[in-house]
């Protein structure tokens, strides 16, 4: 079962690079915000998988929860900044 989770984590790590392409070259700011948000979500899942592989889920779940909360706040702050620019 561990092999399966490691494989899933590696796959997600590869997918992060695809989204990162959109974050760097993507046309427009909104694509970039969405891409950064998606990277945050993938990081959260990767953290949980790392926690499962090392048998320390209760520790990593705290970190990933903070990551999700700060990701949400960052997304709203970026949206607010764009609204102000208009």
């Amino acid at each position: 079962m561990n092999i399966f989770f490691v494989a899933v984590g590696m796959g997600l790590c590869a997918l992060v690079f695809l989204v990162l392409y959109r974050a760097i070259f993507g046309p427009g700011v909104f694509n970039r915000i969405a891409a950064i948000s998606a990277v945050g979500t993938k990081t959260l899942i990767i953290l949980l998988i790392i926690g499962y592989v090392y048998n320390r889920v209760e520790m990593f779940i705290d970190i990933s929860m903070v990551y999700a909360l700060l990701n949400f706040i960052g997304c709203i702050a970026a949206a607010k900044y764009l609204e102000m620019e208009r």
């Binding site: 970190i63 903070v66 706040i73 702050a77």
Partner: protein, 160 residues
């Protein structure tokens, strides 16, 4: 950045979200010795919850809940708690921040006193980090000009 948001979805989400965020920050501070976290991380989450309120509900609402004088007071109070606990340990005959000396005051044995002393220091760190994080965010987003100063200036401009 500090204007009031018109969007009802954002405002409702923030209103539901902020109490859980603050409760989670308290959990991170209190549970710091068993899991990742501690005073700094919990303080950052508390400051982030205040920043979320500032983004969504605007400066006028936040001024009522957390005025700038309170920020300075909280920031100094945290430093006072931290340095005070260290100094009490020093006065009781130990080293600076040698928590086991606190067992005389608290009336428990040394390991318990050490645990409680660390918790007190973490609380102080949490207060300071919360106040300073929020005021950094506030200063950056206003650019140093408070909205009431801006309004007064505009009114003076209009009268002239």
């Amino acid at each position: 950045m500090i204007g009031k948001s018109d969007d009802i979805i954002i405002k409702t989400i923030a209103r539901i979200f902020v109490p859980f965020l603050q409760l989670y920050a308290l959990y991170v501070i209190m549970h710091g010795h068993y899991s990742p976290g501690g005073g700094f991380q919990g303080g950052v989450i508390l400051g982030a919850s205040m920043a979320l309120l500032l983004i969504t509900h605007g400066y006028d609402e936040l001024k009522r809940r957390l005025p700038e004088g309170a920020l300075i007071f909280l920031g100094s109070l945290g430093v006072l708690i931290y340095a005070g606990i260290g100094l009490i340990c020093l006065l009781l005959g130990g080293n600076y921040l040698d928590y086991s000396q606190l067992s005389v005051i608290l009336g428990v044995d040394a390991p318990h006193a050490r645990s409680l002393g660390i918790l007190g220091v973490e609380l102080g760190v949490g207060f300071t980090v919360m106040a300073i994080m929020y005021s950094i965010f506030f200063d950056i987003s206003t650019g140093g000009i408070l909205p009431e100063d801006q309004r007064r200036e505009d009114r003076a401009e209009g009268e002239r």
